[in-house]
């Protein structure tokens, strides 16, 4: 077979244009790579620097009180007694409570929006839910003080009456406390869970749903058997994103949690969160140790957030690899 003959001129033009475009592209590529890599490293450097700064600022606490700072439970700036446990407890419990409320609610409404509602209704609702995510947290906090706190106060006696056999629901009905903080947080994270879950449910391939339906599955069985398993890594992502938000939320929580550094079994009792104590006491901290302890709480919060995000990554990675769903 004769090879395709090309004239010398053709060859020359071709190789020149190749060389020119090749060069230009390579130079552009390189500049672009450095440029983007610079941004990438900057983000990493920022995170590391935040951690370092917090570590330096809280040095006094670590040298004076050491690790027991993390599990001591008294906090009395006047007596120079500092223990972070009440804040860690308040933050973790209120966030857990928020997830407990928001996951079923969010996933449920996402199923409705993605699978049952007519497309137009679904889009309109999603728009409204996204608006909810844009409400500043101080506004939600105000709503919390004026609406949620009285409401919780009025149902607390009933809770105590019927569920009082659990230590979780005993105590004086103040209205402010862990339960209210959890409720406010759940309202804040609900939009994330709902909107992302709806999105991943909409991305479930039609062919899989049809396969399930063609086997004689009902609509509901298709959602449970195919859509949710397919979407689980996306849902897990949404949940951890929300958890990150809930852990760090300051304003809305401090307005309704009661700001009392006490550890109590009861969800009805006032509590305190890490972010809230930093915001409330930082400007009034007089002693060096007080200031340093607040920064140490900040470092702890930072570390918890990093660990949780790491775990989330790991879990999502495991799930997607096992199911090969993503």
């Amino acid at each position: 077979m004769p090879a395709v003959q090309r004239t010398a001129a053709e060859e020359r033009i071709d190789s020149r244009s190749k060389r020119v475009t090749g060069l230009r592209e390579r130079a552009g590529d390189r500049a672009f790579r450095w440029f983007v890599a610079g941004f990438g490293w900057m983000i990493i450097a920022l995170a590391v620097m935040v951690g370092l700064q917090l570590a330096v600022g809280s040095q006094l606490t670590w040298t004076k009180l050491g690790a027991p700072f993390l599990w001591k439970s008294d906090w009395d700036p006047v007596a120079e007694k500092f223990g972070a446990l009440p804040f860690i407890y308040g933050t973790l419990v209120s966030s857990a409570l928020a997830l407990l409320i928001a996951i079923p609610l969010g996933v449920g409404s996402a199923i409705f929006l993605a699978e049952l509602a007519p497309r137009r209704v679904s889009d309109a609702c999603t728009f409204l839910i996204e608006l909810l995510a844009a409400v500043p947290s101080v506004i939600l906090g105000l709503m919390g003080i004026f609406l949620l706190v009285p409401a919780v106060r009025s149902v607390e006696p009933t809770l105590t009456k019927f569920l009082g056999f659990l230590p979780l629901f005993r105590g004086v009905p103040y209205g402010v406390g862990l339960l209210t903080a959890g409720l406010i947080l759940s309202i804040m994270i609900l939009p994330f869970i709902t909107v992302i879950t709806r999105e991943v449910l909409l991305a479930v391939p039609r062919s899989l749903k049809e396969a399930m339906l063609a086997l004689g599955a009902t609509h509901w069985e298709t959602v449970v058997g195919v859509s949710l398993p397919y979407a689980r890594s996306g849902i897990a992502g949404a949940v951890f994103l929300s958890l990150g938000r809930a852990l760090g939320e300051t304003m809305a929580v401090t307005m309704v949690i009661g700001n009392t550094p006490k550890i109590s079994w009861s969800l009805l009792d006032p509590s305190y969160s890490m972010a809230a104590v930093i915001a409330n006491e930082l400007t009034e901290a007089v002693g060096d140790l007080h200031l340093s302890s607040l920064i140490a709480i900040g470092l702890t919060l930072f570390a918890i957030t990093v660990v949780i995000n790491g775990l989330a990554r790991l879990m999502i990675y495991r799930v997607t690899r096992r199911g090969a769903a993503a």
């Binding site: 899989l208 339906l213 063609a214 004689g216 069985e221 090969a324």
Partner: protein, 275 residues
């Protein structure tokens, strides 16, 4: 949609399988009467009449877009889950109108295999095959295991997967995945198996295996296969239906349609002279 030129009325040839070889009257599993279907205001099927026989493979051929998929999706009422879909006419499964049946119930009798293999990604090989049984309320583990093995054997996949039933269904090759989907459909013991271009995503070897498999399966099934591959239709089917722009042009024994088609348009299509 472009309106087709005036067509002669629905052609139901004398040589239709009613008077089929062997003379013995054959059991009709599915009968389609005056089926009209469409999407929104666009009609796709215009008055289709056809019968599908027990223990026979019927191939449906025709140019792209003529409504083959739409037709077989009407047979297990998957057509109506498409938003805006409309359907008119009658489909009888063993004499009973499928509209009188719950679609969920119907689909357990009329299984379907899709163009692209679509095993459930979150399930193992075993669970994929067992999924239909579990939906049917089967809870007895040994019985399920037995049926899974049986279905995988029927789908000629057992020997390849028997040592890795717990691995994800997605870990198989494309051809194996398609046989897995066939096993999944067979596990609930359907009366009818609908296959919409089941081999179009597969290589010739995998295709040959599935064709071989169909010949073995038809002994106690009614198989309806949509295909673009004329040789495939000739190899696997007993009857062939040729469709054109939503109408059934010719429906007769496969051998006859490929040797002496009675309609000019069928001949043009089969010989490749068609558009």
């Amino acid at each position: 949609m472009v309106k087709t030129l005036a067509m002669p009325p629905q052609y139901i040839p004398d040589s239709s399988p009613q008077g089929s070889p062997g003379g013995a009257s054959q059991a009709v599993t599915l009968e389609v009467r005056h089926l009209k279907a469409g999407y929104g205001t666009t009609p796709v099927l215009r008055d289709v009449n056809i019968k599908f026989y027990d223990t026979k493979v019927t191939a449906i051929i025709g140019p792209s877009g003529c409504g083959k998929s739409t037709m077989i999706r009407c047979l297990n009422r998957m057509h109506e889950i498409t938003p805006g879909a409309s359907v008119e006419g009658e489909v009888l499964l063993e004499g009973k109108s499928i509209l009188a049946l719950d679609p969920v119930e119907l689909r357990r009798h009329v299984g379907m295999v899709f163009q692209r293999p679509n095993p459930f990604p979150s399930m193992s090989i075993f669970d994929n095959v067992a999924s239909g049984l579990v939906l049917n309320g089967a809870r007895n583990r040994p019985l399920i295991a037995e049926r899974v093995e049986d279905s995988l054997r029927k789908a000629a996949l057992w020997d390849e997967v028997k040592d890795k039933l717990r691995q994800p269904g997605m870990s198989l090759s494309g051809g194996q995945q398609q046989r897995l989907c066939i096993a999944r459909a067979l596990a609930v013991e359907p009366r009818v198996l609908l296959m919409d271009e089941p081999c179009s995503a597969l290589d010739p070897i995998a295709t040959a295996r599935i064709e071989e498999l169909m010949l073995g399966l038809k002994n106690n099934l009614t198989i309806i296969i949509v295909t673009h591959n004329m040789q495939q239709a000739a190899r696997v089917s007993d009857y062939t239906a040729f469709m054109l722009t939503g109408e059934l042009v010719e429906f007769t024994q496969t051998q006859q349609i490929f040797t002496k088609p009675s309609d000019k348009r069928t001949e043009d299509y089969i010989t490749g002279r068609f558009g």
